[in-house]
Structures are given as structure tokens and as C-alpha cells.
Symmetry: C2
Subunit: 447 residues, 2 copies
């Protein structure tokens, strides 16, 4: 650290290796933090890479907006920035499919490594991008796309490269976890809690991508692809959001010693005949209070990985925010830059296993069903009959209230989701059942 | 997966890249699992590496012992095995300094990559080994040396490569965690619990390395070296074991809403003048029940990492055992083999920061002190006086018992450890203090 290189202005210290040129696309929360860290930690980063990181430019949509950066580095022409000969690595933080897809594709084809946090893009086009990266022998890193600062992609791809992953289950969306934690704590209903989350900056003006599970589904697709060496896209992920969760559901979950979390679940589904498929799904889930994911509250994320030899691992930390996400981006950036200096490259997606995707119907799940029923003898027997008819066994039943407010809440054992949902459909047709008010799945138990 | 290569017998499938030759040194719990996985998962491993992994031989001490392996692969001459031209990667699982040190050194100098789980060796000789690896441009990987299956080394070295780690605190020894968890749960004393741990296979016949903290100290040295880009050896680690912890300490800890864990703590110590040093230390520690490490029980391990931008991360899983440790070894092996196929190499130790090690005296700690005192007025004032004299402020006091069993238990706020220990020494000289029965530190609070 004897020389005083500033990678932001592009000057080189004496006696160091050639600079590694960086282009940053997008200067929102994360981009601004990446630019700040490149500047503030320049000396450390150079020592770790073995060469100075030189920021060549930052592409933004609005050049007029004041930003904490030398304005000469700003451009509104990302394609021209990516095309520069002195750019070795492109950091894509714009989000969205277009123009990110074309910009990254061009960068890779031209031998530039890419670091991206773009989960929506990756959930659709990892195949296309990884092919381009493999052809050009460059890196495509995306640790920041799932669970913010928490190392999940690299551990799955590298640390577990010699193991067989059976299951990945995680809380990977901070907005929904904030809402569900707050509802559980305060007893408030969904709409009020969502509004409060918006006021506090935990929910966006249009919260659809978060609350309807699209964000988590994109992450599930990325995680499943890596974990099972199989290409899984967002369309392969069964998705249900949290907008129909009520305060009553959380109260009721508590009576079963559970809380409710929006989980992304990626599972290796093994048939009796030894055939393997993969399941990827996102839905609100009852999990027991003693489960490690039950205590992950607020905007935190956590991912549980179960592998044949490693057993159960858990990764926990901040899943969003400028600095945490920038930390993950910078880790990837340093590794990509090291590879530019020393040769070699990290692993790309590997899809050799090409396992088929199992539809949700075939997946073994447990159901939690809450319904308003007629307050008369024989209702439970009738309800139970619908389940036993389909070989779905009931684990626990609770009868609450009386008269107009008589309710029946039941939890089933594991059975194919198809039969579980058929049971619920049959209940909805029963005279004795006034209304099926809530249907949720239950995870994190061994039954 | 169309060809049927068996890397164990060394034959090559058609149309694949050249084999990557593997030598395994040591066939204990972990070595046997590594050999099994190399055989059982051969097809998957080949797909992930891009070439078959061919086991060239396994060095063992006792050739006569029956083992689940083709006996033609066994040898009692590890040096000859390592020297074979068709060995590309050496997996060292013998443990101990000699002959592992020379074998690994020779392997690296001859251009072979090395995967090792040998924490004792790494805690002393990482510098020498990393220099050899850098010279030969090969890999030296050691994920399995710390916290078994839990990815900690790779996340610290790679995922956090662009961040500034402030602190690493972990439960990294399963034996001591088993003992402390069992004492906390059953109320049994140390000697009985240690004996029970021995019977159950959680403690070795000579448990010294575990219970006196040597194992944890080696891991702390490895973690601190990586986290702070500074060479830290086992001798730099302040070390205290758990053999003096009593059942009464755990009861007493509970009254402060705490449990006791043996923690390995690596910290960036910042002086008021901006000077940075590192502290690495291992000692039994009171931590509050709400702290994420407090719920890590039995033989599980967990490591909490705090970084400037990432914030607080936690990694949790199985810290020991044949299969979990083998999972970590195999992850390293696949990555090292990939680099043999594709070129390039992973990062080695980086010691550019070369921060000085802060002695424990200078580190800010909190103390928990339990003492038998004379049952007369004024004792508390006298005791408190010794603390205030050294500017150590008292956070909480509890007086218990009466007469011959009168006890005073106090917890201090943060102050340099030197002053805390001076206070305790002064108490021991006080007439009113009959016996200082227990002195522990407290972590995991912000005070």
C-alpha cells in the first residue's frame, strides 16, 4: 500500500500490474455504494486483486441528477461504455431484462467478464449468458442476485461442488418477510402492514413483484439451477404470494406453534423407482417456531441447504440494501479481476443433470386448512371423510367458536399436493362447510 | 453421464478430457468418506470438473487393517505416492505437523495442488505452504480445516473479498460445545459431562486439544489470517479452555439471561488514533440467550462474520464428522481439479495488510466475576471501589446466599482487559473476598 492509486480517476501507481477497467451500469442504491467502495477501498482492492481497479465510467439514465462522483465518469450511453477497449469487467446493476440482456451479452462476447445482481434476467436467460461467457472464457458472477450480502451462490456452486444437494429452502425476499414478521408481532392485518412497510421504505410503490412472489420465484429458479445442475427458469417455479394472508392466519398458526413465512423451496424429488426430478416453488408456509427459519425476522434473509454429506447448513444475513448488496458485488468483482490478472475463471452454470421439473401436483406437501363450518354434530366426520377418501391423513384438528362463528382448522400429513388440493375443492362443495377461509402449506417438519 | 468411467480403478471413458490424478493421504473417518464419494459420485464429479477424477492411491499407516477399498490402491509410502507423475492433486488428511508438512511442501513445489483439512499445520505454516503454492501456480485449499462442512474459508476469502471484515466470532469446536450444551441442559458438572462425551464419541481419549482450546485457537489463527489479510499463527492467539467451568457457572449465567460457549474471536482492533491491529482469542464466554450463537448446541458449529458493508452474516452447520468434513474436502477437490482442466487458480493467503497483533491486555472486554464474600455491610462498596479506581464500570451486580455462602456476582462494562484482570487480582487480595470462584468474559452485547 505504498503507492496511492485512485482507481476512480484511472491513474496508475508505479510498479503495479496493468489496471483492470471497470464499467458500472446503473447508479441506484447498489451502484452508488459500489462506486463509493471502489473509491474508498482502492488500496485494499488493488492488493487483493494484484492490480488496480480503474473505474472507466458509470452509465445512468438521468445525467442531470446530482451524484457523489466525478461527472466526467457519467454517461447515458451504456452500450458505448461497455464497448470501450479499456473495460475488462462490466458490473450490471440496472435491473430488468432490456437493455441489460443485450449489454451483458455483448460484453461477454467481447471477452469482458460480467458481475450482475439482475435476478429477473438470470431467471430467464442464464443459459444464453453462460454460453456466451463459456465461449469467451470469461466470468459471469451473480452472488448479489440472491439474498443480498449472504454468500449463497458461491457456496452452492463451489463449496458444495462435491456433494449432492437435496433441498434449498430460504427466506429470500425482505419485503414479504418484513410484512409477515410485523403482522405476527402486532396482529395488524395485511393491508395496513403493507402500507406501513411502504412508508418505512421496505415496500416499493408497486409491491407486486415482492408480495406476489415473483422476486422470490426468480431467486428460486436461480438457486434450483445451481443446486441441481439443471436449467430451471422462473416459469418452472410454482408461485403463490402473501396478499391473501390474514391476521387470523397468523393467530391460528401460533396455536399450532408455528409462524408464517414466504419460502422459496428447491427440492430434489425422488420417485420410488429412483427417478429424480426437481421442484421449485414459492408460497407462504407455516413453519414450526423451533425451525431455524422461524426466527429470521424483518428484512433479514436466510437460506437452509440440505446436502447428502454436508447435512443441514444455514446462511443468514442482510438480504437487501445498498451496502450489503454492494458487498456481494465487490466480492464477485475482486474474483473476476483476479482471474483477469492470474488467468483462469470461476465455474459457470452447469446443467449436465438436466432433471425434469416436477409439477406442484406431484410434490409431497402438508396442508393447513381453516374453514367456517355449520355448528352441528357430524361435520368433522364428514370433513375427515373427504381426506381419507384420497388417502390424505390428518395430523391435527382444532374446533373453535360456535354458532355462526364455528370454525374447523386442520393440518394434514404429507401427501401429493394434487390430493391435498382435491380435498380442499371437495370441502368447498360441502353443505356443512360455509367457507374455506384459508389454505396454506406447512414445511419444516419430518412428518 | 453416458460413459461409465470409474475413477477409482483409473480407467478412462471415451471422449473425455485427460484424467485428474488424486492421491489421498490418510484414511480415517474423513479419508474413508472422501474415497467413498470419489467412487459413488464419480459420474457427477466428472461432469462438474470436466474430466474424470482418478484415485491413484491412498496412503495409510497400517496396510493390514481391512478397509472398503481395492487394496492395490493402498500404500504405506506417502512420499512415493505424492511423487507419482500421474498425481495432480494431493488430499492431505493425516493431520499433525510431520510428515504432512514435508509431503504437502514437496507436492506444491512439484506443481500439484493440495487440499487439506490440517488446521494444526495451517495455523503454523500457511505462509511457507502458500509461498510454495504461489511459486508453482497451484491451489492450496483448506475449507475443511475450519468448521467442517460449513463454508467459511471460501466466503471469507472470496465472497467478502471486496469488504472489510471487522469481526469473526464462532463456535468452531464440537467437543467443547457438546460439553457446555450438555452441562447447561442437565446441570451436571464438567468432569461427568466430559466422561459422558467420551463414551458417546464426542471427546477423544486425550481431550486436551479440544477442552483446553488448542483446536479452536488453530482455527482462530486461520480465520484471523484470512479475515484481516495478516499472518496470524496459533502462538498469536490468546487461549483459555473450558476445564474450569462449573455447573454453578452455568446456573449463574442463566440468571444473567446468558449461556456459556467457547468462542473463537477474531477482531479488528481500532485505536483512537486510527491505528489498526488484530486480536485473536479463544475463551469460554457468557453470551446472551438472544444472541445467534447461543442457540447453537451439541456438536454443531456456527460462525458469525461482521463486515463493514455486508453487516452481520451467520454460517451454521455440522462442524465435524466424516461425511460433513468430506463434503468440504470434495468441494475443494472439484475446484482444484477444475483449475487443472481450465487453467487459473483460486486465491491463496494474502498478508499484505500485515497488521500487528494486539495483546489480550489491550482488547476491550467485559468480565463476569463470581466470588464468595464475607457477609457484612460494606463489601459491595469495597469491591466496587476496586473497579472504579481502574475506571472499569460495573453493569450489574447480584448478591446471593448469606453467612458462609454469601456470594457476589458482577458483570462489568467494556474496558481494556488489563484493567479488568487487575481488578480481579485486587479482589483476590481483599479481606472481604473469601474466594474469587469464577472469572469469565462476556460477549455479544453492545455495551
Amino acid at each position: 500500500m505504498s503507492t496511492t492509486t485512485s482507481p476512480v480517476d484511472g491513474s496508475t501507481g508505479a510498479g503495479t500490474a496493468r489496471e483492470i477497467g471497470i464499467a458500472v451500469l446503473g447508479m441506484g442504491n447498489v451502484g452508488a455504494e459500489v462506486v463509493r467502495i471502489l473509491r474508498d477501498n482502492a488500496d485494499d482492492l488493488r492488493s487483493r486483486v494484484g492490480a488496480p481497479l480503474a473505474l472507466r465510467g458509470v452509465a445512468v439514465r438521468d445525467l442531470a441528477r446530482p451524484r457523489d462522483i466525478d461527472s466526467a465518469l457519467l454517461t447515458d450511453d451504456p452500450a458505448a461504455l461497455v464497448a470501450r477497449d479499456d473495460v475488462d469487467i462490466v458490473v450490471e446493476l440496472m435491473g430488468g431484462i432490456d437493455p441489460a440482456r443485450a449489454l451483458i451479452g455483448t460484453a461477454l462476447l467481447n471477452g469482458k467478464s460480467v458481475v450482475t445482481a439482475n435476478k429477473a434476467l438470470l431467471a430467464e436467460y442464464t443459459g444464453e449468458l453462460a454460453t456466451a461467457a463459456a465461449g469467451a472464457k470469461v466470468d459471469l458472477y451473480f452472488e448479489a442476485a440472491v439474498a443480498g450480502a449472504i454468500p449463497v451462490i458461491r457456496p452452492l456452486m463451489q463449496s458444495l461442488a462435491g456433494d449432492t444437494v437435496e433441498r434449498v429452502a430460504g427466506i429470500v425476499n425482505g419485503t414479504t418477510n418484513y410484512i409477515l414478521s410485523a403482522m405476527d408481532e402486532t396482529g395488524a392485518d395485511y393491508a395496513d402492514t403493507l402500507a406501513e412497510a411502504g412508508r418505512l421504505g421496505y415496500a416499493e410503490a408497486d409491491p407486486t413483484a415482492d408480495v406476489e412472489g415473483y422476486d422470490a420465484a426468480a431467486k428460486a429458479a436461480i438457486l434450483a439451477s445451481i443446486a441441481f445442475h439443471t436449467r430451471v427458469t422462473a416459469a418452472d417455479v410454482h408461485r403463490e404470494g402473501i396478499s391473501s394472508i390474514t391476521a387470523a392466519d397468523l393467530v391460528s398458526a401460533k396455536k399450532f406453534d408455528c409462524t408464517i413465512k414466504l419460502l422459496a423451496i428447491c427440492e430434489r424429488v425422488r420417485s420410488a423407482d429412483g427417478r429424480q426430478r426437481v421442484s421449485a416453488r414459492v408460497y407462504p408456509t407455516l413453519i414450526p417456531h423451533h425451525h431455524p427459519l422461524a426466527t429470521v425476522n424483518g428484512a433479514f434473509n436466510a437460506v437452509v441447504v440440505e446436502a447428502e454429506n454436508a447435512g443441514r447448513l444455514m446462511f443468514y444475513g442482510q438480504g437487501a440494501g445498498g451496502s450489503p448488496t454492494a458487498s456481494a458485488v465487490l466480492g464477485d468483482l475482486v474474483m473476476a479481476a483476479r482471474n483477469k490478472v492470474h488467468g483462469g475463471r470461476g465455474p459457470l452454470e452447469s446443467t449436465y443433470a438436466s432433471l425434469p421439473v416436477a409439477p406442484i401436483d406431484d410434490v409431497l406437501t402438508r396442508y393447513y386448512v381453516s374453514m367456517r363450518v355449520a355448528d352441528r354434530p357430524g361435520v368433522l366426520a364428514q370433513v375427515a371423510g373427504e381426506f381419507s377418501k384420497r388417502s390424505v391423513s390428518i395430523a391435527a384438528v382444532r374446533q373453535e367458536g360456535a354458532g355462526d362463528d364455528a370454525r374447523l382448522i386442520l393440518v394434514t400429513h404429507r401427501a401429493p399436493d394434487r390430493y391435498q388440493s382435491e380435498c380442499v375443492a371437495a370441502l368447498e362443495d360441502m353443505d356443512a362447510v360455509i367457507k374455506v377461509s384459508s389454505v396454506l402449506r406447512l414445511e419444516g417438519t419430518d412428518d
